[in-house]
Symmetry: C2
Subunit: 398 residues, 2 copies
Amino acid sequence: MLEVSLRGATMPVSPFRKLMPHAEAARQRGLTVYPLNIGQPDIETPPAMLAAVQQADIRVLEYSPSAGNESYRRKLAAYYQRAGIPVTAEDILITTGGSEAIFFALMSCLNPGDELIIPEPFYASYNAFAVATGVHIVPVTSHIADGFALPAIAEFEKVITPRTKAVLLCNPNNPTGYVYSRAELEQLRDICLRHHLYLFSDEAYREFCYDSTYVSAMHLSGADEHVVLLDTISKRYSACGARMGAFVTKNKSLIAAALKFAQMRVSPPGLAQLLGEAATDLPETYFHHTKAEYVKRRDLMVSRLNAMPGVFCPSPGGAFYVIARLPIDDSEAFAIWLLETFSHHNQTLIVAPATGFYSTPGLGKNEVRLAYVLNRDTMNKALDCLEKALEVYPGRIG
Amino acid sequence: MLEVSLRGATMPVSPFRKLMPHAEAARQRGLTVYPLNIGQPDIETPPAMLAAVQQADIRVLEYSPSAGNESYRRKLAAYYQRAGIPVTAEDILITTGGSEAIFFALMSCLNPGDELIIPEPFYASYNAFAVATGVHIVPVTSHIADGFALPAIAEFEKVITPRTKAVLLCNPNNPTGYVYSRAELEQLRDICLRHHLYLFSDEAYREFCYDSTYVSAMHLSGADEHVVLLDTISKRYSACGARMGAFVTKNKSLIAAALKFAQMRVSPPGLAQLLGEAATDLPETYFHHTKAEYVKRRDLMVSRLNAMPGVFCPSPGGAFYVIARLPIDDSEAFAIWLLETFSHHNQTLIVAPATGFYSTPGLGKNEVRLAYVLNRDTMNKALDCLEKALEVYPGRIG
């Protein structure tokens, strides 16, 4: 018999995609469906970035170097330097989205069967990367009660084994929006040094830090060999479709290993590199505007959620997500009910059940992740729907 | 100690990249260095493709569906249908270059330790994909004496084991330029049916078939569940830097598994999809012009090579490579000598040692791959260099 591989069979279906048929059915019934479930901002991609591609004089769209165009790597290094991160072009591989940076990190640092510690809830696709690379994710649970702060470091120590090779931190965090403090990062650094672990820092949302000064894992001293910065322009410049990221480390052996995976796929996307390079020329004020907008959206979302009876939502310091605890029996059932049964003035919304972000079974059943990526008018309409829905949901508890 | 993974350590360095420091040193000494070693055409990327990107009205560069834009998949299906390949949009996943299509195929069909049979010499990066995915490549040797025709089917039968899961054929072949006949493909199909193997068909060079009517693996009857077409626009439209490919199969379970790997990286590159979609609108005459040009280049290269004493070069029916047997002791030593020691009127060339394309140690030591991707004037100058070089190379034999 012709069968798919075991890894093909066990790869998880994206939890977002599971809801798509239900959302499609709701739209077919004529409903307006507000997508609060995915991190696709409605913010315009900076026209200067698009212009860089659209005005480029290209005769032959040739392979770029496997590490990415030299000019882009230099300018990206300068961007990091402006953020107090002392890297050079030699420390950077341009990747096909942040996804490929994650893939390079797992492939280059871990063998099949090795363990990767991640605070949960975490970005659901990490599960897929783990299955694809044969790596075991070991979750350490963070809690909504303290806003999803870093779990006590003793919880990390407890799960370290001889197979543990790395800790992965998403900062600011997707899905919780939590921004880790310097003290928390230093604690993590210290156990990575003590146990010879890599520290993977997914900083996709690095520019979206609202209440404090952002600390990158690359700001930590004494951990140059350990830290790998995983980056992307997707969220930073509302350019999710470009697929343009970076793998950054000062560890020379590691970047040499990762480069071989980069050579395997020859080049990162050529046009998107032009887009990324142009992004490094944007004025600092670009982030002032976008951050100001996201702060307003966050404040609106958090205050409205907490005003709903039985709802608890910590106010996160970064990214553009919140996790809210709802008075519901089961977040997956609730998400489907919103699309299949509920409507309010011919509208409804999609939420991301938080179960998809936890590795420990049973967690997240009364939590959902909501993205504040839509303008406030639209968000208000979506939150009106949520408020009404919670009043009438048959699985309401508490 | 902090170490890179075993797979990171054992990943092969691209054989092309090994020569790069030597080529750079030659350029630093003021030499003109003709790159006959890589398949980077000098043919212009069709302006209509670039215009599709450059004139697109994009406000937010959003994620595309993981399978690729519906409009592109439909038009690509129509392109295949025009070539007599009866697929629909549902049978297609848009990938990040042909590379990702190869990756999806290995991940979805083979487990670590499974075996993949490939006629050698073969595209060197297959080795890298095999290491990355834990797959073992089992080579079956083809020979320059018969122009690298498909080895006797008994040679395939001999190496099939319970771990064999697939055969990979590149047609037209890189690096040999050989175009497999319908009879050869049917023989391969039959053993794949008999032994329950997938048949991966890398058709990157499908439009570059000069002396016969091209037969795709997807033209074979009775093998819909087995055949996976791996495709790319890189060579077809001289758009190597775009990173735009496709994974195509009528096997529903397989495409469902591959889609999960596609979801893992969210989307293929967005701008490149516009480029690819525009390519499907090019008139048929586009290929007439480019093929006519490549035929002239091939004929020039093959006739000049065979006119050199001690050189033998079969005339290949497709792609834009030849493998030539040279009167030399060691193709790697020769390639380095060309860059380090030799010059002719202040010029030299880079050749690809064929050793990098064989899996069996020792094979390819007196063979090189040459790409006829440069205009004929430039090619003549490069071949003048090669002719002179062979006269004076200290390792000349025979």
